[in-house]
Every structure is written in structure tokens, then in C-alpha cells.
């Protein structure tokens, strides 16, 4: 049996309970935001939650569509803002980022990984072959008696030779550095965008670490 046969039904196509029309309408009026983590640790998404109660203020104007918080796995309709965490380390990351670029008006690089590659980019100074050897062949935690193997399967995204910042793959509009950025920094940028102000990150909340 061929294991790589594509699944016919994606999770977002499964039947779901319809939202109450008034709730639906209220959500549709808001500014649509999609969020994604590429090659990162999801720490920036957690930092997004660190806005604490200011998050409620933001949610009055914003509807979060696709994100790990809502567990929505597709961008359901065109979004005004795309929140991108993580850098580019495999072909699935590239595909997802391009999908975000096509479906969002504004894309924000959030965190060190999205801005310049971050911790995953530390492998950029080591040849990929050596990385694989260390991770899969000469790995000290290998199960005894098993044959060392580099995983390769059509379902597994192919890794890129180097890790890239998002803006080297598609155009990114704004950048929030930090590992992770402070909740206040994320709020400042989103609040500026939502209220139509010029985006600025004052140096008091700009951090690279």
C-alpha cells in the first residue's frame, strides 16, 4: 500500500457547527489577523499572550483567524495582518510564508528567528551534512541496536541548506526584534497598525535578546 497517498479531506473541510450569525457578523467587521510559527520555538506567540489584559483591548478591534491559539489551520479569508514567528528552515516554511504573503496585506516579522534566523540559524556556520551526521548518525542518545538513519520521506518537509530570515524569502513590512520580543513591543506595533498610526518601536522596548 502506498503510504504517501494524499488525504482526501483536510481538517478545515470537516463539517463543523455553524457560528451564531450575529457573532459571525461581529467578527467579520473586525480587522483580520493570521498568525504562524515557522522555524522557531513559539516563544513569540507566548510573548503575544504576555500582553495580558491589553490583549482584551486589542481583541475589541481584531479577530484572530488562523493561529495556534485558535487552532484554525488555514487562512479562511483575506487578512489585514499576518504575524510571522520563526525563520525559514525547510520547504514547508517557504510554502507557508508565501501563502501568508498572498493572503495578508501586511506581514510582520516577529522575533529574532523571523528577523535574522535566530537560534536555528546557528547551524548556518556548520555544513548541513555535518548537522545531519551529528543529529541522526553519531547521536549519543540513539536507541541501542537500531540502525542510524537520516529520515527521508515525501511527507517530511525537505530541510534548506541554510536558515533564512523571512524577508529574504518574501517581502516583510515590519520587524519586531527580540528573543522573544516583549509583550509590550508586540502590542505597540499591532496597536499602531490597528489604529492607523505610523508604526514605531521606541528604544525603551526594542530588544535583541
Amino acid at each position: 500500500m502506498n503510504k504517501s497517498v494524499k488525504q482526501k479531506t483536510a481538517s478545515h473541510e470537516l463539517p463543523a457547527t455553524q457560528l451564531d450569525p450575529s457573532v459571525r457578523a461581529a467578527r467579520d467587521e473586525k480587522i483580520q489577523v493570521a498568525m504562524i510559527g515557522l522555524c522557531g520555538c513559539w516563544g513569540c506567540t507566548l510573548s503575544f499572550l504576555d500582553m495580558d489584559e491589553t490583549l482584551l483591548r486589542l481583541l475589541e478591534k481584531v479577530n484572530i483567524t488562523r493561529s495556534s491559539l485558535t487552532d484554525v489551520k488555514r487562512i479562511p479569508h483575506r487578512c489585514a495582518i499576518g504575524f510571522v514567528e520563526g525563520g525559514i528552515a525547510n520547504d514547508e516554511n517557504i510554502e507557508t510564508l508565501e501563502h501568508f504573503r498572498e493572503n495578508c496585506d501586511i506581514l510582520i516579522s516577529v522575533g529574532a528567528c523571523a528577523v535574522w534566523g535566530g537560534v536555528p540559524a546557528m547551524r548556518n556556520v556548520v555544513p548541513l551534512e555535518e548537522c545531519f551526521r551529528e543529529a541522526y548518525l553519531d547521536v549519543p542518545t540513539a536507541e541501542p541496536g537500531t540502525e542510524p538513519l537520516i529520515p527521508y520521506h515525501p511527507d517530511i518537509p525537505r530541510i534548506t541548506t541554510k536558515v533564512y530570515p523571512c524577508h529574504e524569502v518574501v517581502k516583510m513590512d515590519y520587524f519586531i526584534p527580540g528573543c522573544p520580543p516583549d509583550g509590550a513591543a508586540i502590542f505597540k506595533v499591532l496597536d499602531d497598525l490597528v489604529n492607523g498610526r505610523e508604526v514605531g518601536l521606541p528604544k525603551s522596548i526594542n530588544r535583541y535578546d
Binding site: 529574532a112 528577523v115 530588544r207 535583541y208
Partner: protein, 234 residues
Amino acid sequence: MSVRITIDGKEYKAGDGATLVDVAADNGVYIPTLCYKRGKPCLGTCRTCSVRVNGNVMAACTVPVADGMEVEVNEPEVANMRKMLVELLFSEGNHNCPSCEKSGRCELQAVGYELEMMVSRFPYRFPVRPREHAAKHIWLERDRCIFCQRCVQFIRDRETGQKIFSIDHRGSHASIEIDVKLADRMPPEQVREAARLCPVGCILEKGVGYDQPIGKRKFEIKSIRERALERERQ
């Protein structure tokens, strides 16, 4: 003798021959610097203090003031040039702040904040430069070096006056080197001085690191701008 100069259209009095970057700081005008250390001879290597003097772009740490000098510091084009130079430094080395011992005490990072840098407009190069561990008390994270030459000029063997640090090769092959024999003769306070003098996290003292909590590190207590304007000498 005192002279009159204008900075961004405002007139200031200054001692004839005083260094422009100091004159600006004394009058509350911050010009970012990385290689320049007040009280020490000018190196003029990093160019981060570039300003326009009588229409020409010059490094402010190399310019002695003269009567009638017209200086532009915060004019957008020249300010953008300075920011570009700092962005170049960030993309030229591996400046991974989250994993760097110097973070919070790093002058390059602090200047990046002052210039409100979010990202480098240049492609990040990820250079491969091997670390140097040979000396007993000091090691070099070479991919962070910005070739300011502070260590080369100002850290010398206390007996012979010989240079301990040097730069080998040129251009993209340039590499910071250490004379291990002389380095092993450095007293502990000189090791610390060398690590402190390094504006980035290249020269590091062995056996210490991450010893200051986040929020209490040097430039978090007081920004590099405030320190520069307060005539801080170290």
C-alpha cells in the same frame, strides 16, 4: 582659544582643536561611537560617528574643531548613513544577542537600540571564523569582532609594551589574533579590562559569564547615550 561651530544650525563655543565628537557630547548632542573611547587616542576605524562637516562626511572622532565649522549630525541622510554602517556590522558578523555573554553590556547592541535598528537591510552573511581558546584566561569569539582595534592599540604587555592583540590578513579574511605567551602573562585585572574594552562579545574572560541578571546589565541601568553625554570615562 575658543572657536565657534554650528551643529545642526545651532551655535556652540568650543576649545580650538578639541575633538568634534566630545564637543558635541558636552553640548548634549549624541553621536554614536564604537571604536572611540573618550580620553584615549582616536582610532577612526568603525566610522559609526560619521557626520557631515562643511558638506563632507567625516568620522567625528577624527575631526578637531575649527572656527566656523558647520556640522550636520541629525540631518536624515547622514543619520541614515550611520544606521547603515551599524546594520552592516550586524550582517557582517554573527551577532546572536540571545546567546551572547555580552548582551546588555554590548556597545554594538546599545548603539543598535539608539539608532532604532530593527533589522539589517543587508543580507546576513553568517561568516565561519574559528574561536581562539589557546590562552589560559581569555578567549576570542572571532565571528563577533568588528575590527575596531581598541584591544590592538590599548591593551599591551605591561613589561614590554608589546601588543597582545593583532589583526591578521585583510578584508573578508581579516582575523583577530592573540599572542598566547603575552596573554598568559596578563594579570586578572588586565584580562577584565580587555573584555570590558571590547565593544562586542569577542574578547571574553574564561570562567565567568551571564553573571548579571537581565534588567540590571550595564546599558539597561543607563543607556549608552546617557553615558556618552555624561562624559563617562573608564
